[in-house]
């Protein structure tokens, strides 16, 4: 019995009263058909309450109406998972907007004295009804997900059965109490509509969207200047807000993309086993190279003789690099006459390391600024950036028993002699005592 009243009696009564009441109000209280705007009494909170509420509720309204009026099309759209998810998300977001807006509006009514003078009991009933209704809607949406899809098979037939005057409560009878309450709430709102400020729904000033703009022109020059100044301020504020909004939106998009990249920079790179091994191997090799370099350095600090090469390994076409006592590169050659020649490989121009390939005219090249150095004398070519010759490096030759056979000082004066028959077995050294002399 209660069911029949709630889902058949109440709806018909509500629709009837709504129609009759609206007509009655149009005839008797035409100037009262408005939302009873209180913008003049309080404007700031109104903006933050009214705008979200109206945006939210219009979107939700639209969703409900499409589902009720075009169930076929709606059903087919909602069969696409992406669209269904999109519809649900939009619905949720709009509901939250509505609740926020309503809360602000409610709070505003409660806390602004001058508003309370123009507030009647009807306003509180409407606000409470709407709050409950939106809250119930949110509970339905949260508790019984995908309502956008299931409503077309349950609630839509119920609404249509009412419209076609063959009421059928069989579906709605077994529905959860929250959904039933939401339906009853809808009829109650319809019922009170003609007698409250909700009547403004039927008098939306749509013509405002299309009428030509009105401009207030002041005859009084002072007022006119004030108006112009005010408009300029407003324009520049609008300009700034628009630009600031555009920039922050762009900035937001940008930072989402950029932060995504930056965030991942700090994550541990997930390396493959082999990659990790290769990486470690390279690193180890580099460490070994550094260690070898340090050893060379230590050797030069500790020992009086440094081995360069066997005389047999040297020739006059490709120089052999070695490191001298000051840890700088040197080049070892063997001249045609069989004697070794040691030159510093540090270019006398700007200190680059000279190449070791001897060209046809017996010269080596510093590639940095193209200076050719004669390997016999160390002299640079004419017009080369380098002006000074490469330093000679002193050496000592020893035979296989380790006895000193010959030496050369940094100035190029030789002692000893070279026996061509056994010279190939001689070893070449640089000597600290001779280097220090230089």
């Amino acid at each position: 019995m209660l069911e029949l009243f709630a889902f058949v009696g109440l709806p018909y009564a509500a629709i009837l009263i709504c129609i009759v009441g609206t007509v009655w109000r149009f005839r008797n209280d035409q100037y009262g058909i408005s939302s009873l705007s209180s913008q003049f009494l309080e404007g700031r909170k109104l903006l933050w309450g009214s705008a979200p509420w109206h945006i939210g509720i219009l979107i939700i309204f639209l969703g409900h109406f499409v589902a009720f009026l075009l169930p076929g099309i709606w059903q087919r759209l909602m069969a696409v998972p992406l669209l269904l998810a999109l519809a649900e998300m939009t619905g949720f977001a709009s509901t939250v907007l509505c609740l926020l807006g309503l809360t602000v509006l409610f709070y505003r009514r409660l806390t602004t004295a001058r508003l309370q003078k123009s507030t009647n009991i009807g306003d509180f009933i409407v606000t409470a009804l709407l709050l409950v209704q939106v809250g119930l809607g949110l509970m339905v949406a949260g508790g019984y997900r995908w309502g956008a899809s299931w409503s077309t098979g349950t609630l839509t037939p119920y609404v249509w059965s009412l419209i076609s005057f063959s009421p059928d409560v069989s579906v709605i009878r077994d529905m959860p109490i929250v959904i039933q309450a939401h339906v009853v709430g809808a009829w109650l709102i319809l019922l009170v509509l003609p007698f409250t400020r909700l009547i403004h729904m039927v008098s939306v000033p749509l013509q405002y969207l299309f009428r030509s703009p009105q401009k207030v022109v002041w005859n009084n020059p002072r007022r006119n200047n004030q108006a112009v100044a005010a408009r300029v301020t407003q324009e520049s504020r609008r300009h700034f807000l628009k630009a600031a909004f555009g920039l922050s939106a762009a900035g937001l998009l940008l930072s989402v993309g950029v932060l995504d990249k930056l965030g991942r920079f700090f994550q541990m790179p997930g390396l493959h086993h082999d990659e990790e091994a290769n990486l470690l191997e390279t690193r180890l090799r580099r460490l070994q190279l550094t260690a070898e370099e340090k050893e060379l350095e230590l050797e030069r600090l500790r020992s009086d003789h440094i081995y360069v090469a066997k005389l047999a390994e040297l020739n006059n076409t490709v120089g052999k690099y070695f490191i001298d006592y000051s840890m700088r590169p040197g080049l070892a050659f063997r001249a045609e006459d069989g004697w070794p020649m040691l030159l510093s490989a540090k270019c006398t121009h700007l200190g680059c390391t000279v190449g070791n390939q001897v060209d046809a005219s017996g010269r080596i090249l510093c590639p940095c600024h193209v200076s050719y150095f004669d390997i016999k004398t160390g002299m640079p070519n004419d017009g080369a950036p380098a002006k000074a010759p490469l330093d000679r490096i002193a050496w000592v030759l020893r035979d296989e028993q380790g006895t000193e056979v010959a030496t050369e000082s940094p100035r190029g004066s030789r002692t000893g002699r070279l026996d061509p028959a056994v010279a190939d077995g001689y070893s070449l050294y640089i000597v600290r005592s001779l280097s220090a002399e230089a």
Partner: protein, 365 residues
């Protein structure tokens, strides 16, 4: 009556740093930016600042992975480039943004010169700006070494060796002084770990601290004095600094970031060098071909290759001193002449940067 020196000095500082204008009204709400055909010059300084901010952030990020030792530096850079997620992007951002920043700093300097922006009471702004220019070159020089690859170390070697060159012009008793200076900068007779540690410390701690201080002074005095008029005549129009100019500034920043980001995603900075130059530095091998400094040093590098060294020293010293003293040297110069001078310098820089190598080869064969 002649004023005492101290009070003259205080008067000078008080009029150059008008702290009584240190409030929102003077510095933001009432500040105006003239609109004229040189107005673009007002944006390049902001862009330089923007690229510097990018440098600070990407630099800090690179610090998470970079290891400043001779054995690890190159490997850690390789690791960032090839293994760290988005590591290549961050490194490219740092490298490209460095070049853009230096470009903007130079353009900013030239446009300020052309607009005679150093004129009284903006001398301190200008001097801080010249300091920033030098620090920026310092950043470039020290940062170039950090990847520890062939081109990095060898180019640094060449750059530092030019200090040695100065020794030949000093009296015999002092001729070792130049080498002492170089060794002190290097921290060792040859470039090695000591040099890397020093350059690293300079690049990530000392120079940034200096920049923060000097930028603070620079930007503060720009805000205190407002934009320089830039041209002789009254500008036709003025934009409010806030909100109009600052929004335009941010718009430029947005575009700059887009260009930088796309470039960094698509084109590795390294791709401008042949590979052998990017191998780890080999202390024992010979110097590879094609060692040269970054493009922003070409304007002094190629002349150095072509002319006797003493000319370079004299010209560079005079140029640097001239920059610092510009507010006094060009006190009476007209805006028009300043534009000519700035254009001539710009033309020289552009020609040397773009065609320096061709000129070098044409002359040296």
């Amino acid at each position: 009556m002649k004023q005492p020196l101290v009070s003259t000095l205080f008067d000078f500082i008080a009029s150059r740093i008008p702290l009584h204008k240190l409030d929102v009204r003077h510095m933001i709400t009432e500040k105006e930016v003239p609109v004229h055909r040189m107005s673009w010059g007002y944006y390049v300084g902001g862009l330089a600042l923007f690229f510097f901010i990018i440098q600070v952030f990407t630099g800090m990020m690179l610090l998470f992975y970079y290891e400043p030792t001779v054995s690890e530096a190159h490997e850690s850079v390789e690791y960032i480039t090839h293994f760290v997620t988005m590591g290549a992007l961050i490194r490219n951002l740092h490298a490209w943004s460095a070049s853009f920043m230096i470009f903007c700093v130079i353009a900013h300097m030239l446009s300020a010169l052309a607009m005679k922006a150093f004129a009284k009471p903006r001398e301190i702004t200008w001097i801080a700006g010249v300091l920033l220019l030098l620090i920026t070159f310092g950043f470039g020089f020290t940062g170039y070494l950090l990847p520890w690859n062939q081109i990095a170390v060898n180019a640094t070697k060449v750059g530092l060796a030019s200090i040695d060159q100065m020794g030949q012009y000093l009296p015999a008793a002092l001729s070792h002084l130049a080498e002492d200076v170089r060794v002190t900068i290097q921290g060792a007779p040859a470039i090695g770990q000591a040099t890397l540690s020093r350059f690293f410390a300079l690049h990530v701690v000392i120079l940034p601290l200096m920049v923060f201080g000097v930028i603070g002074l620079h930007v503060l005095s720009v805000q205190l004095h407002g934009m320089s008029p830039g041209i002789e005549d009254k500008p036709r129009r003025k934009d409010k600094f806030f909100p109009i100019f600052i929004l335009k500034d941010f718009k430029e920043w947005g575009i700059a970031f887009l260009v930088l980001f796309i470039l960094s995603l698509c084109l590795p900075f390294d791709s401008l060098f042949p590979y052998p130059l990017l191998e780890p530095y080999n202390a024992l091998g010979s110097t590879p071909d094609g060692i040269k400094p970054e493009w922003y040093f070409y304007f002094v590098y190629y002349p150095m290759e072509l002319l006797p060294f003493w000319i370079i020293i004299v010209v560079m010293t005079l140029a640097t001193l001239g920059l610092f003293a510009a507010p006094w040297i060009f006190k009476g110069t007209s805006h028009k002449t300043m534009r000519w001078i700035a254009s001539a310098i710009a033309a020289y820089m552009i020609i040397m940067t773009l065609f320096g190598e061709n000129i070098y080869h044409a002359i040296k064969g």
